[in-house]
């Protein structure tokens, strides 16, 4: 904005004269905005930073009243402690096994459903979509008791497949909903062109639609992965033997089992959180639009 523009504005109220007027006020506003920006930045970034910082700090710098901001000299001692606790390998394996199985299952079944609602018009299509939309909001916290009895009947209490089933149903509605968006986004003309060129419907799908769907599949499966990876309540309630714990149950038990060993607790938390942070940074733009299209975090 040029000075002449400013000149046409109403004269500043302050008696300091024209020179101290609009530009000063503008600078002040900018300064205040930047200050607010920095405060916001700190409020959100600091707790995350503090987790990593504490994990790398020498023990004597953790238990100080005046916090040491930088983890210097950095140490891997807490990570070693955390990882060498009994069963760590089991927990990691359980978490990966359960999460990946659930994601794979939900991805396969959701892709089929997404194709049906994204590509075909059929009776009941709208009701089906409404069902998916509503189911995404199901309060799974309220279904703990019936799941307990179902799993008991199936002899799956304290068995990892129970978690696979539960995380599958947690993540599927969202996956269907988001994938549907991606399917609709693939131009129908491409598919038709392939069919004119002699592809069958299935071939057209495999060679044309599927490759274009790949980014959507990746984003959706990452989101499903994060949901299942983070889940605490069901794992905590249904996995009773230590060798069946997933990582969240392990971290939760850290606090009670080892008192205030904050270094090891933060190291374990960092290890658990890091993959999620990386994934999220990679897909967050897709996620924001996907969620408000009527979807739920889970």
């Amino acid at each position: 904005m040029s000075r002449t523009d400013l000149g046409t504005r109403p004269a500043p109220r302050r008696t300091g004269g024209l020179r101290a007027g609009p530009t000063t006020r503008k600078r002040l506003t900018r300064g205040l905005l930047n200050l607010a920006g920095v405060v916001t930045l700190l409020a959100f970034a600091f707790p995350v930073y503090w987790m990593f910082a504490t994990a790398f700090k020498p023990s004597r710098d953790i238990l100080t009243y005046t916090p040491r901001l930088l983890p210097w000299p950095p140490t891997l001692e807490h990570f070693q402690q955390a990882v060498s606790r009994p069963h760590f390998g089991d927990f990691l394996r359980n978490s990966l096994l359960v999460t990946l199985s659930a994601v794979l299952l939900s991805l396969v079944i959701a892709t089929l459903a997404a194709l049906a609602v994204g590509r075909f018009d059929f009776r009941g299509r709208k009701s089906y979509l409404l069902l998916v939309l509503v189911v995404q909001m199901a309060p799974f916290e309220a279904l703990l008791i019936p799941f307990f009895f179902m799993l008991r009947q199936l002899d799956l209490l304290n068995q990892l497949p129970a978690l696979v089933l539960i995380y599958f149903i947690f993540t599927m509605p969202f996956t269907i909903w988001t994938l549907r968006g991606f399917v609709v986004g693939v131009p129908r003309e491409l598919e038709e062109a392939a069919m004119v060129d002699g592809c069958t419907r299935m071939q057209a799908f495999r060679r044309v639609v599927f490759p274009l769907l790949a980014p959507g599949l990746v984003a959706t499966s990452i989101f499903a992965f994060v949901t299942a990876w983070n889940e605490f309540l069901y794992a905590f309630v249904f996995m009773r033997d230590p060798d069946k714990f997933t990582l969240p149950v392990w971290i939760a038990s850290f606090r009670t089992a080892f008192g205030d060993d904050w270094g090891a607790t933060m190291a374990a938390s960092s290890l658990f959180t890091l993959p999620v942070l990386v994934f999220f940074l990679a897909i967050h733009r897709r996620l924001a639009s996907g969620l408000t299209a009527g979807a739920v975090k889970g």
Binding site: G37, F44, T64, T66, L112, A138, L144, N230, T292
Partner: protein
């Protein structure tokens, strides 16, 4: 919507009862007509088995007397609405229910207000700082509820927590050795901070995306016409973003009302059961103390409360989903 390929539309496709058709195309049409149904069957089966059935079961169990004895003997004792009568006449249940509603209202209000401010702020920041704030928001959003809770407990630690140091250093008061978990109210404040802190990024990022979609000319026009920022917020931004506000508010209510992990990890509902919320209560009654019938009744009541709070939203949503 023009999504159906020609000839697959049930209205125009020939009815199968017209006798055998000459040649293959007819069969292909029949197969294509069945295809979408075949594709949705697996997911429908999963919904029925893993969601419909548990839903039916939670209602059924809420009508049973089902404690440890019945569980071991595998007995089914119908008692009608006795469990509901028992919880609805229980003062503690009402305390917990009211507390949960209040907690949800506070969390959602704080989330929506602060997130709106953050979104407006993002729009006005320079590109460098904006990117930094955006990244910090995404990191927070990505933090698992579990580790977020653990980290905030560390920040609020009585002896070595950063919060006590910061408050003391800023001259707010003498917070050395102050315990945040001694009273219910103060513990709730910490839980609220954790929940709101984690809930803001999603709402802020969504609203910011909505803000950037408002045509620049429109806002310039309002400025030129001499509208104050306040005025342009109420008469331009708010109406345009209304659908986004509705959706994010709706989702926040659902998430905050049923929150378990954060509440449970902070003090397992303590001190003195003063931070027990409905989902924690249902867990304690059911899984921890084996009053499954009562716990199921609590769960059902919880769902009914949530539905009642959201009836308005759900109706609105169904109306806006016309174009599915």
């Amino acid at each position: 919507m023009g999504r159906a390929p020609a000839g697959v539309d049930p209205a125009t496709a020939p009815a199968p009862s017209h006798g055998p058709a000459p040649g293959g195309p007819r069969r292909a049409v029949g197969a294509t007509r069945r295809l979408p149904y075949l594709l949705v069957v697996p997911s429908l089966a999963a919904f029925v088995a893993l969601l419909g059935y548990p839903l039916y079961q939670v209602v059924r169990i809420s009508l049973l007397k089902l404690d440890l004895g019945e569980l071991i003997r595998r007995e089914t004792v119908f008692v009608g609405l006795a469990n509901y009568r028992s919880i609805l006449t229980d003062r503690f249940f009402w305390t917990v229910a009211l507390r949960t509603v209040l907690f949800t209202v506070v969390c959602v209000t704080l989330t929506m207000v602060i997130a709106t401010l953050v979104a407006l702020l993002l729009e006005r920041l320079g590109p460098g700082l904006r990117l930094a704030v955006e990244i910090s928001l995404v990191l927070t959003w990505a933090m698992p509820a579990l580790t977020a809770t653990v980290v905030w407990q560390w920040l609020f630690d009585t002896q070595f927590g950063v919060v006590n140091w910061l408050l003391t250093t800023l001259g707010v008061g003498a917070f050395e050795g102050h315990s945040w978990f001694a009273t219910g109210l103060s513990t709730f404040a910490v839980i609220t901070i954790i929940v709101v802190w984690q809930a803001i990024p999603f709402v802020a990022i969504t609203l910011y995306a909505g803000l950037t979609a408002i045509p620049r000319e429109l806002r310039e026009a309002m400025r030129v016409d001499g509208a104050s920022p306040w005025r342009s917020f109420w008469s331009l931004i708010l109406p345009v973003l209304k659908p986004l506000f509705m959706v994010t508010c709706f989702l926040s209510i659902i998430w905050d009302f049923k929150v378990f992990t954060q509440v449970w990890l902070v003090r397992q509902g303590g001190p003195n059961r003063q931070t027990v919320t409905l989902s924690v209560y249902a867990y304690q009654e059911g899984i921890a103390t084996s009053h499954f019938g009562r716990a199921a009744a609590i769960s059902v009541t919880m769902v009914v409360l949530l539905l009642a709070a959201l009836v308005f939203y759900i109706r609105l949503m169904l109306r806006t989903q016309e174009d599915l």
